[in-house]
């Protein structure tokens, strides 16, 4: 069975929803505390949403130095899938595993509401169960979600097709090019501001977030010698 580590930092608050969404997709999910130095033989790592270290200094700036991040960096360097959701995305950017940065929303207010996003790249371990161009509604909940990158970085991200998700119709936080999620060059590390774990159960009204978790199971099962 696909093994998924959900990392808990002090201040994580979407860890349980994420764990359950992973289980709902048929994978084995377990928590890894941020002080741990091992990911427990996980196939996939998810950094969930929340406010790690109270977002002090900048969102993700302190969490990136947690001991577990050395294991996350090693996992990513070896090609292992890593997903950062919301605060997890911020941590991956601060850690340099993804380009760019997430800064204060242009409107200056914390936004907590559904937005419509379009899946721009299905060539990642977290979006390969979507059809290209699929649109769905998914909640955002962030104060620092405006994606920025240096001009040349942004050009590379666009030209290399590394935008994974984009806001449709309305760009809630003022992100460059309405970017809601990106991937790294090899494609194994993905960050997204919206919360797919809040749109993965019929009780929540929208279920199309679950394909993020079904994608990771599909990815691991397709690996040579994959998941038994």
């Amino acid at each position: 069975m696909t093994r998924v580590a959900v990392v808990k930092f002090p201040g994580s608050n979407c860890d349980e929803d994420t764990l359950r969404s992973v289980q709902g997709a048929g994978a084995e999910a377990f928590y890894v505390w941020h002080r741990e130095e091992s990911l427990g033989n996980a196939d996939v790592v998810i950094l969930p949403g929340g406010f790690a270290y109270g977002d002090h200094l900048r969102a993700g700036a302190i969490a990136r130095f947690s001991p577990v991040m050395r294991a996350v960096e090693a996992h990513a360097a070896a090609g292992g899938p890593v997903l950062g959701i919301c605060n997890g995305f911020q941590i991956l950017c601060e850690a340099g595993l993804l380009d760019g940065a997430l800064v204060r929303n242009a409107c200056l207010t914390f936004l907590s509401r559904p937005v419509r996003i379009r899946v721009e790249s299905v060539d990642t371990p977290f979006t390969n169960a979507y059809s290209s161009g699929a649109e769905f509604d998914v909640p955002i909940a962030h104060g620092e979600g405006r994606f920025l990158a240096r001009e040349e970085e942004l050009r590379d991200i666009e030209e290399q097709g590394r935008v994974v998700m984009r806001y449709v119709d309305d760009n809630p936080n003022g992100s460059e090019n309405a970017i809601a999620g990106i991937r790294n060059r090899p494609g194994n590390v993905v960050g997204m501001m919206p919360h797919p774990e809040r749109a993965a159960d019929p009780l929540l009204g929208e279920t199309r977030g679950k394909f993020v978790f079904e994608s990771l199971v599909k990815t691991v099962e397709a690996l040579p010698g994959g998941s038994p």
């Binding site: 601060e94 940065a101 204060r104 242009a106 200056l108 920025l148």
Partner: protein, 85 residues
């Protein structure tokens, strides 16, 4: 060992939209302060540091900025080193 007071000033990178600064500027105009130009909001960090000399204190403070205190994608920083009184 000598003590130094480090003052780090971190500002949004020139040219980047600073919505916080813009909001503060609008509030100042609303208070009827005339001719308020560009307003930008950053942060200041004070650090007490014991180092053998000023050069080492400055070099370490800059490394702190590069590794943690500032985000090079979005922020510029300035470091001022004073001997602690």
């Amino acid at each position: 060992m000598p003590s130094f007071d480090i003052e780090v000033k971190i500002m949004p990178r020139a040219g980047l939209l600073d919505p916080q600064g813009k909001a503060v500027g609008q509030a100042l105009s609303a208070l009827e302060f005339e001719s308020v130009g560009d307003v930008r909001v950053g942060r200041a960090i004070s650090i007490s540091l014991e180092r053998p000399d000023r050069e080492t204190a400055l070099a370490d403070a800059r490394e702190m900025c590069d590794r943690l205190l500032a985000n090079p994608v979005t922020e510029d920083y300035e470091v001022v080193v004073e001997s602690a009184s």
